[in-house]
Amino acid sequence: MKVLRLILRELVGMFIDDGSLATLALLLIVAITAAVKLLALPPLAGGVLLLLGCLVILLYSVRRATRRRSGQ
């Protein structure tokens, strides 16, 4: 059981380091998926939006980390 718990913790840690990065990325994916499936957004436009959204989230996340460090 200990080994399984260790593996599970490692698996979760692989995807979630900074909680807000993972949350924002998931929200972006959910919003784009909903727009493609429910609002007839062309899938290619969804893909491009996903690319741009990921870059914005990355920028926000590293800027936030830098600001936190500068504020110390």
Binding site: D17, A22, A25, V36, G47, C54, L58, V62, R63, R67
Partner: protein, 249 residues
């Protein structure tokens, strides 16, 4: 998707990502081997590899039951999360916000811990356990990377070759130099891997949504280029003291 572009990108992503993980596992196994003895080091590592193989054999065939578009979407989403985490860390290390990973420091820390346990009756067991945990935890990441970059387009074989090549190369170099591979440019590798995995993630999530990317497989390279340019621009911007001051305000 069986052109040269996806095969090379699959092998390269799998090789580089696995290389980083194997280097980290090797450091701990080496520390156990040098500080205690090679028997617990190799036994722990072998048991971990056997457990990983059993997990792959048990769960791997289940992937064939998942419809390809669902698999692409799920793997794509996981790769976005995994790749962006690596990329974020590599950028923050690149601009000095967090410390670089130091294999020498990891080796010294593990060696000190093992020396403290030297008089313990269970010293061999604890040393073997340290090697087992290191190989298992880094191995779980390698298994995920191989499945993630390979499964969505039936290229698990090529991804496995990349991982195997990384394992063999690290083992050969490690046995030759007999010390932690501290001179490996780990952050540069993590940066490249973060870029690759995020690109794969966006490409496959898009395909899972039904996107017909222009240029088909070549779109993967275009996505990689866009993310790379943006990431280097972020690093340059954050290295600029004015940007940091602005961010602190």
């Amino acid at each position: 998707m069986h052109g040269l572009t996806p095969i090379l990108s699959t092998v390269a992503a799998s090789f580089l990502a696995s290389f980083v993980e194997v280097v980290e596992a090797f450091t701990i196994v080496l520390a156990v081997g040098v500080t205690r003895s090679w028997r617990p080091a190799l036994t722990g590592a072998a048991l971990a590899l056997a457990l990983l193989a059993a997990l792959v054999l048990a769960f791997g065939p289940l992937l064939a039951l998942v419809p390809i578009t669902v698999l692409q979407f799920v793997v794509g989403v996981l790769l976005i999360l995994f790749g962006m985490r690596w990329l974020r860390k590599a950028i923050l290390r690149g601009v000095g916000v967090i410390a670089l990973h130091d294999e020498d420091a990891a080796f010294s820390k593990e060696t000190a811990a093992l020396q403290q346990q030297a008089n313990d009756r269970r010293a061999d067991y604890l040393a073997g356990l340290a090697a087992f945990k290191a190989v298992l935890l880094e191995g779980v990441e390698v298994v995920f990377i191989v499945i993630a970059v390979g499964a969505a387009h039936a290229q698990t074989f090529y991804a496995s070759l990349g991982a195997l090549a990384a394992f063999i190369l690290v083992t050969i170099i490690g046995l030759a130099v007999h010390r932690p591979l501290a001179r490996v440019p780990e952050n540069a590798l993590k940066f490249a891997v973060g870029l690759m995995l995020t690109s794969f993630g966006i490409f496959w999530t898009g395909e899972g949504l039904g996107a017909d990317w222009p240029g088909a497989d070549l779109a993967l390279l275009a996505i990689f280029a866009v993310i790379a340019v943006a990431s280097f621009a972020i690093v340059r911007w954050l290295r600029d003291p004015k940007a940091t001051q602005g961010a602190a305000r």
